[in-house]
């Protein structure tokens, strides 16, 4: 191998290793981010669906556990990256929790949960506060199949 060829091969290989390494690390980080986002969306959706089903069909203790799982996970997502979607879902989740506690005769717990619900809805809609009745009617509205839902006032 002549010296010119050797130098060319070494320089080209080094340039390839450097650029391949940078690109590989960048793409892996990007893919990790995409997978993490997909997991956040899936976890939000799965816990919301589970909480809604349990709220409709399970006894108060199990319904409460399902709603608490949703709240716990959404609050952790909020700590990592606040989002209005999570804030709104937290508002609904706390409203469900308040309704479960109210039905179980836990008036004080229910009031605390309604306060949390108001705080989360307030973050999404700072201009107007919602009453407990309005929050309940939103949740009851969402419980119905889309075809049976009357238009909201």
């Amino acid at each position: 191998m002549n010296p010119q060829l050797r130098i060319t091969v070494v320089v080209a290989a080094l340039a390839g290793i450097l650029s391949g390494g940078i690109l590989g690390a960048y793409m892996a980080r990007k893919n990790n981010g995409i997978v993490e986002s997909a997991r956040v969306i899936a976890a939000s959706s799965a816990t919301a669906a589970f909480a809604a089903e349990q709220f409709r069909h399970a006894d108060p203790q199990h319904a409460r556990e399902a709603v608490m799982l949703q709240i716990d996970i959404l609050q952790q997502f909020e700590r990592i990256a606040p989002s209005s979607v999570h804030e709104r879902n937290l508002g609904f989740a706390y409203t469900r929790l308040a309704m479960i506690d109210e039905a179980a005769g836990q008036k004080a717990d229910s009031e605390v949960a309604f306060e949390h619900a108001k705080d989360w809805f307030q973050k999404v809609h700072p201009e107007g506060g919602l009453t407990d009745v309005q929050m309940e009617s939103f949740v009851r509205h969402l419980e119905k199949p889309p075809s049976d839902r009357p238009p909201l006032p």
């Binding site: 002549n2 010119q4 060829l5 060319t8 091969v9 070494v10 320089v11 080209a12 290989a13 080094l14 340039a15 390839g16 290793i17 450097l18 650029s19 391949g20 390494g21 940078i22 690109l23 590989g24 690390a25 793409m27 892996a28 980080r29 990790n32 993490e36 997909a38 997991r39 956040v40 899936a42 976890a43 959706s45 799965a46 816990t47 589970f50 089903e53 349990q54 069909h57 399970a58 006894d59 203790q61 199990h62 319904a63 556990e65 399902a66 799982l69 716990d72 996970i73 952790q76 700590r79 990592i80």
Partner: protein, 161 residues
Amino acid sequence: MTSVRSSLLSTVLAGVLAFVLGGSLSYYVAARLTVLYAGPSFSELGHAEGHKLSRITQSLYGLELSRLLTQSTPVSLQRSVGCLRHIRAGAPPEVAHAIDLQLATDYSALALLEQQNNDPTAAVSHRQIAASLLQSIGWKDTSERALDNLAGQYMHKGVKP
């Protein structure tokens, strides 16, 4: 003149080959190392909490994928049941009930299809499993009608025929 041109061409080709080979190899190694040493997801929460949330979201991701990809055929539902049991075995206890609900839904859908296909023995057996799973997660009504409603709603909404 020809010899100079040929020498130049071979130098360029060797350079391109070295660049591509070195680049491919280091791309693969860097990507693997980045994935291996990237640290846990949700590390903003600290190691223990981030790791726990990572395990929870991984299980729920599997649950959602199973729900989205399952079709209303006995083979697809059986495969989904297998996947969900596998996910449940490695899932944190917090999400076990959510997986149980999906398992019960799949068993109810299986039972409904088996009943339509004149296989009442299998339908009864799968309905019993579904009912027992739903009772374990606190469902108040686990009658045949409630299970058929659950299956019908699922097959109508999410599972594509």
